[in-house]
Amino acid sequence: MKRGAGRRGLRALVLASLPLFATVPAGAETGLRLELDIGSLVHEAFDARGLRAHLSWVGPEPRFEVQADRLHLPEPVGRVEALHLRCPRAEVTARRLACPDARLTARGDGWRLDAAALDFDWDREAGLVRFSVPWPGLFRGRGRVSGLAGAPGLRVDLDLAGLDLPMLLGSGLVPLELPVAVQAGTAGVAGRIDTRGRVPAAQLDLSVSGLDFSDPAGLHAAEGLSASGRVAHGPAGYEVQARFTEGAAFFDPWFLDLAEAGPVSVSISSLQTVPGVADGVGWSAASGEMTLGGHTRLQGTGLQHRGDRLEQGEIEWQTGRLDLAGGLLAEPMLAGTVLGRSRFEGETHGRLSVSQGRVRAVEASWQGLGLNDDLGRFALRDSAGRIAWSDDALAPESHLTVAAGEVLGLPAGPFQMHFQLEPRGLRLLEPLFVPVLDGGAGADHFHLRVGPEGPEVEFEGGIRALSLERLTEALGWPRFTGRLAGIIPRVFYDVDGLRVDGLLLVQVFDGEIVLSGLRIRNLFGIAPELEVSAEVRRLELDLLTSALDVGRVEGRLSGRVEDLLLVDWVPQRMRLSLATPEEDPGRRRISQRAVENLTAVGGGVQGRLAATFLRVFDAFAYRRLGFNCELEGDVCLVSGVVDHPDGTFTLVEGGGLPQIEVIGHNRRVDWPELVRRLDAVREGPPPVVQ
């Protein structure tokens, strides 16, 4: 409403003629009847057309009526039609005109009054109109509106309940352009709106219940929401406090069922709309705070939001229940990433600075942090730490401790890490050692830099001797005894994954396996890949076959595995070449059971001895044995120590008497089938030769 309207009086322009009818009725009573046909009346605050007034002073108190065909009032009321004000008992003095029981009929955009009660008092000298209206049932509400209108402006006191929100918002009386459509809900409002000051002020206690709303795409929606709060408007903007207690809401990508998550409280201070530069209108707030379920709190100061992003602000967070807040807030944001199937626990607090739409600095602390991957790829237990990062300077030192962890089934920890986060990288400040089983992996030097060409890694570290017995047990493999150790002088990271320079030494079965050319890709992805080459040096077959429980073979085994590619830990490609070494042959014997198992595993392999003859001997001497496999996909192209012109090949060449020779007939072997048969042999009872 425009201020300063009343005191200057009705600077009205009477556009039409003013026919005046004053009659003195005939009869016992004498009095005055006055009819004014004003026509049109234009004023700063309103524009009335078809205006008529009727005054009748017959009894002790005058009565009057005012009618207007059309009336334009300031927004949000706007256009009013068929206005009819009846005052059956006016109180008139030189100074004031009052009507305690007036009735008002009118209709506007989305509302209608039908003889609504009205109590008003016009102090003509002061230029003030006091009014009080029992709420006429508009929008199904109830309550009372009272106020004071005068030259400086308008003061309205509201005490209303049960307002139907879809009807109210659809009426156009509320000057809000909401980005959502309200489908259901009732509201109550109590408080005061005052336009008399330099800046319009308002303080309203609001409550809503059963609120359903949605935007066109359903990305911001609520059902059955109940909330209460206070909105105040002053020179600094809006002060908002609200507490949401019932219902459910979806604010993409977050879903919150308040019955499960607990109440949500929001408070915003000095909220103002600000014109954006390029992205339209935004908003700013001196501060804001949200608490969730009494366990999680988000605070912001100096907030500026434009378009769909936070332009500026300091955000602080604090949660004592990461198990709840993680599922509600973090999980929807992490969907589709490595952490997308993780469960969290613990406490965390921290802050981040946003400037010019980008995160400029972060500080975070946590304790009792736990993380469990639903797919069993990794886990972290009881971690504590503090990290700091800044995008334009070296941040203070960061550190973390982990009580225990697990990577791909291998238990790890406890360990602690001291490091420094750089604007685009991470540098280890002290050597890091992660215990794994009875050994561990460590880094003496680690520096990661992310440049325009991709990440660069400087690394020096190694694997401290790890017991294979415990390693194989942890991984559920056949139990081997031995140790794994290695030196890793360098690590590279590129589009093809993590490449580990250096050698890893596996001391196993009284021999050695030297691993080199290790490359890891998508370790926690849908198909983890590992590439490695290995040199096998003089493994003791007796120990190997005992571990695999496939029958006894004595002798040594050497050879190479080149270009081994494991995808999801299943070999997909390799060139395997294993054979008994020529030098230092030692004792070479193969047990009857081993021969039979070799036959069972090989399928196309046949022993050249008659079965009956076999029964006589427990073991046979052999001169050499060997196995080569060129694996590509599921097909292994097999050869042995001797290839024969007819396409067969010798796997075991006998020595001495009785001479045994194991011949393979099928060069193309189905690798998965071979593995299945090996498992069957290991798990089944020892075969009996008939």
Partner: protein, 205 residues
């Protein structure tokens, strides 16, 4: 007339001999489209997913620019001037353990996605991914799940496009592969599914 054709032949040979010949290895568009169609059908036809829409017969490809009669002559000339070792068959490898894995993952997700693709909650975006279109008809409590499915599906699709490019030792083909898939997802989508046209507007098949 004969003199004219002889002159033309000489011109072609001279032109071919004097030209600086550059061999480009072009993106095998047809092979990519065929591979994409196989994979897309495989995913969309997963148990529980609706039967695919039968597209109209594709028009016969026609050569453009050079008349068919001239082609053998140019090819004959170039064959003798350019070493054939550089020629490469337009083929695309779409088999690798990682590709197979991601296809399995997408196939197993397909029945979960299908109801939301059918009711228009999500649609095939023009960039080869899926996108939330209108969640209004999805119960409030399910909407986070739809967003999770969309995020996981898109992570798989990103992996699929990258791994196909990688399986062919051409990481730079990733965008072309994604564009090919974007078109094929829409072509193979059953009637009723929603997709984005070239301008980003949603349309229903």
């Amino acid at each position: 007339m004969r003199a004219l054709s002889r002159m033309f032949a000489v011109l072609v040979v001279v032109l071919a001999a004097s030209a600086c010949v550059t061999i480009h290895i072009y993106f095998p568009a047809a092979a990519a489209e065929e591979a994409a169609r196989t994979i897309v059908r495989d995913v969309l036809e997963a148990p529980g997913a609706p039967p695919p829409f039968e597209p109209d017969a594709a028009p016969e490809p026609t050569s453009r620019g050079i008349t068919p009669l001239l082609m053998p002559a140019v090819a004959w000339g170039l064959d003798r001037l350019v070493a054939p070792a550089s020629a490469q068959a337009p083929d695309l490898r779409v088999e690798s353990p990682a590709i197979n894995r991601v296809r399995t993952s997408m196939r197993s997700r397909s029945p979960e996605l299908a109801p939301y693709l059918r009711n228009g909650a999500i649609g095939f975006a023009r960039d080869g991914f899926v996108e939330v279109r209108d969640l209004s008809d999805v119960p409030l409590g399910e909407r986070s799940r739809v967003q999770r499915l969309v995020s996981e599906e898109n992570a798989d699709r990103r992996t699929l496009y990258r791994e196909i490019a990688r399986a062919n030792d051409r990481p730079d083909w990733e965008d072309r592969i994604r564009e090919t898939f974007a078109r094929v997802w829409v072509e193979e989508a059953p009637a009723g599914y929603w997709y984005q046209d070239a301008d980003g507007n949603w349309r229903q098949k």
